[in-house]
Amino acid sequence: MASQVHQVHEETAALREQFDTAAQQRDASTLGMWVFLITEIMFFGGMFLLYTVYNHLYSDVFALASHSLNEVIGGVNTAVLLCSSFTMVLAIRSAQLGRRKSVMMFLVMTMLLGMAFLVIKGFEWAQKFQEHHVPGPSFHLAGTAMQGHAQLFFSLYFAMTGLHALHMVVGCGIVAFLLFQTWRGKFTAEYFTPLDIGGLYWHFVDIIWIFLFPLFYLIDRSKG
């Protein structure tokens, strides 16, 4: 049986030496990024689990603490992030069609929406500081004797939204880098893997917020 003869191809960014076809190379990049994203899912997953367990154990205090968060601001921020995912996917689509200028326009919009999210989040946090809802010596949540359990809620709130915000900052950095690369003409309709991968990261961070929003702001709102 004759072994398959591979045709020697000229190496390009879209088709590196070790791959047979450009499609195979693209699929390998996508798979690699997903493996990374799964490590991130498990990373955030541990904290989601911790929150669920404590929410179960101290449900009354957690409901009270959840009430102190503004669900309208949370909802608006969710919408801002969903809009940024929309502009991101349009940037990828423009890349598929080889429209460099519209890729740049959509990337700028994505970055601005991401920054808008962070600014809104910043104001929310600042308000928590003024209300003495930040865990520490001056912490006080009115309406409960269980100050320790209330601090646990806000510790988880700041840790999880903080870690999410950190991912957003990194995401904005990645989008800025992609914008620079696009401006330099690094990407074509045949090769735009970094854009594709960056998009996956951006949408992933969006999904984390999709779960943070109902867990912290919504599920206990009708109680107490």
Partner: protein, 100 residues
């Protein structure tokens, strides 16, 4: 690319609008007292939003079977982590422990 599928702007717009509508719905439903079903509804809407983002925006529906298997496998592992832990925490009060 021949194999690459390019979705229409219309598809993306419909998904985006659906996501915004779901966000408004979940925020509104939270103010109505449904008892334990508040959590169920909020989580179902969140999962629906996750699926929309993953399938359409992250192109999982156009991905290879291997990628889809890896994604589902990751979520399955997360489900094990959450379900087994909650199976412990939530059932501790069900049966009395002698001497406690």
């Amino acid at each position: 690319m021949q194999q690459e599928r390019i979705d229409s702007v219309r598809t993306y717009t419909v998904v985006w609008l659906a996501l915004l509508v779901l966000t408004a719905t979940t925020t509104y439903v939270a103010s109505i007292n449904l008892g334990p079903y508040n959590t169920v509804v909020a989580m179902l809407i969140a999962v629906a939003k996750m699926l929309l983002v993953a399938l359409f925006f992250m192109h999982v529906r156009h991905s290879t079977r291997l990628t889809r298997l890896v994604v589902s496998g990751g979520l399955f592992w997360l489900a094990i982590l959450i379900c087994l832990t909650l199976a412990d925490v939530m059932t501790r009060g069900w049966i009395g422990v002698p001497g406690k």
